[in-house]
């Protein structure tokens, strides 16, 4: 049996066109760590930053990290790809079983290149690689695809299934990859990269096992970390109400975007609060493999579909972001209706955040007469779920020119129809934090255009002096430390547990003293490589704009200070250019 504790990365490269695979051992664990670092390293080797995102040669990369599977919450996979959203290097993260499945397939990373001649499904394991033609799955929604794949593929219980829906097949710039039904590589269009490769699904079979180090260091480190995540209050907010617990809190802080960010608070909050979901709709929890927290909240939706009391039920995973994007952003105050839209988005294989924010823009554009019912094919009105359910199907299908443009990004549609001032786009359709200048600049410019790139949204929630240089320095420092965690690959919910000291303890317990001793430097190195790749593939942070809507709102601090926001934007853009300099 192979030893999984090794100073190189074991990487499987699958060429869908040639229907062949090879395994490479790539040195550099102490320098690149895994996850974010390994994905960037592999993109540099296999990607072409000058070619189009859907060029068959572009790689789709799934990478795990040095601590994956060895410790609780080391349960995430990093997907690296050239994004159809902006044509540049991007990352998206997901959990489910994906990370442990890759670990037990004995792979530090899976790299998929080439375009299959026909729609296909790829299945890999520690002793297995198969590409199956699957034209019969093309056009199928995410749920039907999942049900069929379960019967087609081996390894129930110890595999991960990554799949796309119609949105990915149709090249939507925010098509997601669904992971094991309730998790996603959600943002920036990794699903379309699979679609462009004629790849409907990837199954990873985790069928190997490995010896653990002898001695007490590993056992002690595990015990200590497991105790922190299960016996203290550090993680309780994630399994109690879950991230949905923030909905009412942010509404109270005047920081929850409502109706395309025309307001930041609303009295109708009680219908979509985390408490409301937990009390009336929460069916059960689920977990990523290797995580005892179980933050996945699955809601229950009962629908009467016929007379004589004929019902069906749906199970829909909810979180803060989908409640914001398909709830408050669309003016909905009935949690059950929001669950219904989440289910519709899931079926199409769309990113819920981008889909909801795009439809919020479309609604305001319709109100202002910029787009017509003939274009939207649905009656889009804030607070009315029925029209949105229809629109989500059209968005997944790319039903007409309007929806094809909207599916390539809200600003693309606004460029054609007008309404750029109220497009709620910060690099991509915004995350649900109307907290203030710090967050708006951070999301608009940062690497993943995510609320998880830095702690900006929580910095906004505290009093701060408007010192742009200091804030930019905090963005950069925060990003570097998050690069370490997303290279291990730990869930960012555990960032309070996995301090640099505890990461070093965990690594040392496995015999990775050289990795443990290089964490700070490696984090900065990963950060710089990601920015180099981003800039090489065309990113110009100096031209990243923050739409007018963001200077028109008020938060708990009062009106937005547009001059300070612009100063901060310029300062961060300049720093990004330094970070990504060759």
């Amino acid at each position: 049996m192979s030893n999984v504790i090794r100073d190189f990365f074991r990487v499987q490269i699958v060429d869908l066109a040639a229907r062949k695979t090879r395994v490479e051992n790539i040195p550099g664990r102490a320098q690149w760590l895994g996850g974010s670092g390994l994905a960037a390293l592999l993109f540099e080797r296999h990607g072409d930053p000058g070619a189009a995102w859907d060029d068959p040669g572009q790689p789709l990369i799934f990478a795990i990290g040095t601590l994956t599977g060895f410790f609780p919450l080391m349960s995430k996979t990093v997907c690296g790809f050239l994004s159809p959203y902006h044509g540049q290097y991007a990352e998206s993260h997901a959990g489910g079983r994906s990370a442990l499945a890759l670990r037990f397939a004995d792979l530090d990373a899976l790299v998929i290149i080439g375009r299959a001649a026909r729609p296909c499904v790829l299945s890999v394991g520690s002793r297995h690689m198969e590409i199956r033609d699957a034209p019969f799955l093309w056009g199928k929604d995410v749920f039907t695809t999942g049900k069929m794949l379960r019967h087609m593929l081996p390894g129930s219980g110890h595999r991960s299934i990554l799949r796309i829906g119609p949105a990915g097949e149709n090249g939507s710039a925010y098509a997601c990859i669904n992971v094991d039904t309730y998790r996603h590589f959600g943002r920036l269009g990794a699903g379309a990269v699979m679609g462009a490769k004629n790849l409907k699904a990837v199954a990873v079979l985790g069928d190997a096992s490995f010896p653990l180090p002898a001695g007490k260091d590993y056992a002690n480190a595990f015990k200590e970390i497991h105790g922190l995540v299960t016996e203290t209050s550090m993680m309780s907010k994630y399994h109690d109400l879950g991230t949905a617990g923030n909905v009412a809190a942010l509404n109270e802080l005047k920081s929850l975007p409502w109706r395309n960010l025309q307001a930041t608070t609303d009295a109708g909050i009680d219908g979509i609060s985390g408490e409301k979901f937990a009390d009336d709709m929460l069916l059960r929890n689920a977990a990523c493999s290797g995580c005892p927290v179980g933050c996945i909240h699955i809601g229950y939706l009962r629908e009467k579909f016929m007379a004589d009391h004929r019902f069906l039920y749906r199970q829909v995973a909810y979180d803060y972001e989908p409640i914001f994007s398909l709830g408050s952003m669309l003016g909905l105050t009935d949690g059950a209706k929001v669950l219904g839209l989440m289910d519709a988005v899931e079926r199409e294989g769309l990113d819920c955040m981008s889909a909801g924010v795009a439809l919020a823009w479309a609604t305001e554009a319709m109100e202002k007469g910029l787009v017509t019912p003939e274009q939207t094919l649905a009656d889009l009105r804030f607070g009315s779920a029925e029209g949105y359910a229809v629109a989500i199907r059209h968005l997944g299908a790319g039903a007409n020119e309007f929806y094809r443009l909207l599916a390539s990004g809200t600003l693309k549609a606004a460029g054609r129809y007008g309404g750029e001032d109220f497009a709620c786009v910060l690099g991509q359709e915004m995350a649900g934090y109307a907290t203030g200048e710090t967050f708006f600049v951070s999301e608009a410019l940062s690497f993943r255009h995510s609320h998880l790139d830095s702690g900006a949204y929580s910095a906004d929630q505290k009093p701060q002096d408007k010192d742009a240089a200091k804030v930019v320095a905090s963005f950069v420092k925060d990003e570097a430390s998050r690069c370490v965690l997303t290279s291990m690959v730990g869930c960012l919910f555990a960032r309070g547990v996995y301090t640099p000291e505890r990461l070093a303890q965990a690594l040392n317990s496995l015999g990775y003293a050289d990795v443990a001793g290089n964490l700070g430097q490696a984090g900065e190195g990963v950060q710089r490589l990601r920015w180099r790749l981003r800039l090489r593939s065309g990113y110009d942070p100096e031209h990243a704009r923050i739409p007018k809507r963001y200077s028109e709102i008020a938060t708990w601090k009062g009106p937005i200070d547009a001059d300070y926001m612009e100063e901060l934007r310029r300062a961060y853009a300049a720093r990004i250019l330094e970070l990504g300099a060759e």
């Binding site: 049996m1 442990l100 110890h158 490995f210 595990f222 299960t230 290797g290 927290v293």
Partner: protein, 144 residues
């Protein structure tokens, strides 16, 4: 003798902490598969989870099928004890198990629950229980 029972699997969230704990603590391995207890969905993750674990048959058919004495019945209450040194990796035990509770690794070595209970404290939802067999019944959930 004390017996492990997956008593409250309705609560299971699929984190597989039990399998990982068994592999780590009983077998000294990193695995979610080569363990005495294994978790899978009942037919897709939307359907909830099941545990594949020894039901402590008395007498145990796996021990009867074992040609070497590597698996022998426990003194009482069903189930088996395992002497890995005697195992020739023939797989007869796994074939004999009526509920698929014995899994084999890539070398053919069998993994079966020995009812030690070391997985129990790792379950965040208290799905598992170690106790006297007569006192253990998968019962009705009682709200706390």
């Amino acid at each position: 003798m004390k017996t492990l029972i997956a008593a409250r699997m309705e609560r299971c969230i699929g984190c597989q902490s039990c399998s990982l704990a068994c592999a780590r603590l009983v077998h000294g391995r990193l695995s979610w598969h080569t363990a005495g207890i294994r978790i899978g969905s009942s037919g897709g993750i939307s359907t909830g989870f099941e545990a594949r674990v020894c039901l402590a048959c008395d007498p145990p058919p796996c021990a009867a099928a074992c040609p070497t004495g590597a698996l022998t019945p426990r003194k009482s209450d069903g189930g088996v004890k395992q002497d890995k040194k005697l195992c020739i990796r023939c797989g007869a035990c796994a074939e004999a198990c009526p509920v698929g509770a014995i899994v084999r690794d890539e070398t053919g070595a069998p993994y079966v629950c020995i009812h030690c209970g070391r997985c129990v404290p790792f379950c965040p939802h208290d799905c598992l229980e170690l106790g006297e067999k007569d006192g253990l019944r998968p019962g009705q959930e009682v709200a706390e």
